[in-house]
């Protein structure tokens, strides 16, 4: 199975499993492990006696993880057959296409700098969002037209909520 971590694509296979002893192959390395996992996502891994702790949070069909190990945070994607299929179908609309503006975190709309129907240039600022006393403005990557503005100044928004659609 394929697992994506950052830019790396790893081939991962479960070789064997007995109680909490697991053997997992990642690319050309074989790991002989003792793994226990807490309900809250804390994972203790003993690899040849070496003790690692990882904290995981997941989202998106249970196949998309954020994993903390030591002082690192990794995005990890499980690409099983279903995910592969969906990916292949999605190939057409590449990530390059930016069809909306959203904020990764919740916040408040401070200012909207464009109007519907307006033609905007690459790098032009669309909207200013404030969270935790800090303002960020969101820009378009490519030239496009503002399709719809879904929020108003003063609105409270959620993380990931679509604010402006583009075309």
């Amino acid at each position: 199975m394929e697992i994506h971590i950052g830019d790396r694509i790893a081939q991962v296979e479960l070789i064997s499993k007995e109680d909490n002893k697991v053997v997992i192959q990642i690319d050309d390395k074989t790991y002989d492990l003792d793994v226990v996992m807490a309900e809250n996502g804390v994972c203790s891994i003993l690899n040849n006696g070496k003790s690692y702790n990882a904290e995981i949070t997941k989202s998106d069909n249970g196949k998309s993880y954020i994993v903390n190990t030591h002082f690192n945070t990794f995005p990890v994607q499980i690409v099983d057959l279903q995910a592969k299929y969906l990916r292949s179908r999605k190939k057409d609309d590449t990530d390059e296409m930016q069809d909306r503006i959203f904020s990764p975190m919740p916040g408040k709309v401070v200012k909207i700098l464009v109007t519907e129907g307006q033609v905007v240039e690459p790098g032009q600022s669309m909207i200013v969002i404030e969270a935790m006393k800090m303002q960020s403005d969101y820009k378009v990557k490519k030239g496009c037209t503002i399709k719809q503005i879904l929020v108003a100044e003063g609105d409270t928004i959620d993380g990931g909520q679509t604010l402006i659609t583009l075309e």
């Binding site: 950052g6 249970g62 002082f71 690192n72 408040k108 006393k133």
Partner: protein
Amino acid sequence: MIKKILIANRGEIAIRVMRSCKEMGIKTVAVYSEADRTSGHVLYADEACCIGPASSKESYLVIDNIIEAAKRFGADAIHPGYGFLSESSAFVRRCKAEGIIFVGPSAEAMIAMGDKISARETMIAAGVPVVPGSQDNLKTIEQMKEMVKTIGLPVMLKATAGGGGKGMRLIRQESEIEDAFFSAKSEAANSFGNDIVYIEKYIESPHHIEFQILGDNHGNVIHLCERECSVQRRHQKIVEESPSPLMTPALRAEMGEKAVMAAKAVNYSGAGTIEFLVDNDHNFYFLEMNTRLQVEHPITEEVLSIDLVKEQINIANNLPLRLKQSDIVQIGHAIECRICAEDTENNFMPSPGIIKQLTEPLGIGTRVDSYVYEGYEIPMHYDPMMGKLIVWAVNREYAIERMRRVLHEYKITGIKSNISYLRRIMDTPDFVSGKYDTHFIEKNSDFLLKTTYEGTKDETEDIAIIAAYVDYILNLEENAPQDTDNRPISRWREFGKQKAMLRI
């Protein structure tokens, strides 16, 4: 004596104040905005009062609402914490008018120190050194040369209307004066339509060092030594320590004396902080006074073994200072790190959200002042600081080692935090050697933003893969294909969103 205190603040400082109140047998009243019903300080208090909507302008900053809460719950005193209304002289006056004790200085002292220009003048009159220079308009090159002679090189030439470095010139040699003067004036005129310029002594390798002071209502003032706060990013302090690695006993005595003079000049009562700029040659200049408790006050508490909030309350109770200047001797070394919900790798973007897992460090020499807990949703409306991690050890080297240990123990997921960034600060050679100034973060930015840490990249990546993979398999096995995380979105459930009437 004060029996009940309303804490006009939120988050970690509200809990910090309540802890000391609880120990003193003083009842506490929390105030909270609608976004803060589940905040730690509400749960901690004896009583709690909602004072308005999420926006602090409509809640924590509304004097009327806070006074009303104090009266409703019969609080005989108000502790303002830091931020919000803590430096509002109008609030102090209102408390006085309502017969409520304000735990802090008088409105007059606050006003005298609140305005930069009047503070500067007061300090000059009191004999406290300020950054040499003047904000007088330099009209001619002769005036300028005269001024440089008084101040001494290097100087910084600045445009009154300036900003973004425009119209600014650093002058190190006399030969540069003329050219700088005319070019800056014309640049300023072109950029801002205003060619007024002035000069200030340029402080090389500036250290931000502040002195904690305590004054009582009987004219006694002592200083509680210094805190080194030069690890700053955009004027936001990140790491503080005490003693300062730059300090010598002689300089401490001298700066401490000036800090006491500064406080006495405004008849200061309560806890306050005199901030200084200090250069590598130990010249120091008054910067400003903070007329309240500082975020970083715990490191002073640790090296002096005192409780500043208790001292504040004693002073508010009209008691004379418990301590004399001769009692004040720093022991060992303390470091504080501010733990913030922010994405250090993405331009320090704030990262509000739900804390999924939380492990706070414990054990010898460790202090955590925080207000968050597992399952808590950090609201987007306020400061990203979740708490402070403070260590104490016998010397600076041991304190750094301890800070590394406790940052390693600190685990938080669900939101982004600056913990690994702080951990890297503890490994930065300039920090480890103690040879740093306010340029530290800028100077070391590459080192500080290294993304991998400890062990090889592949190894830690593989561990992350294993953790995710095992979780994935466990879920498959449990035949419970859940669409998203089945862990709580927020631990706090609003009690019945549907407005139902239920009779059982």
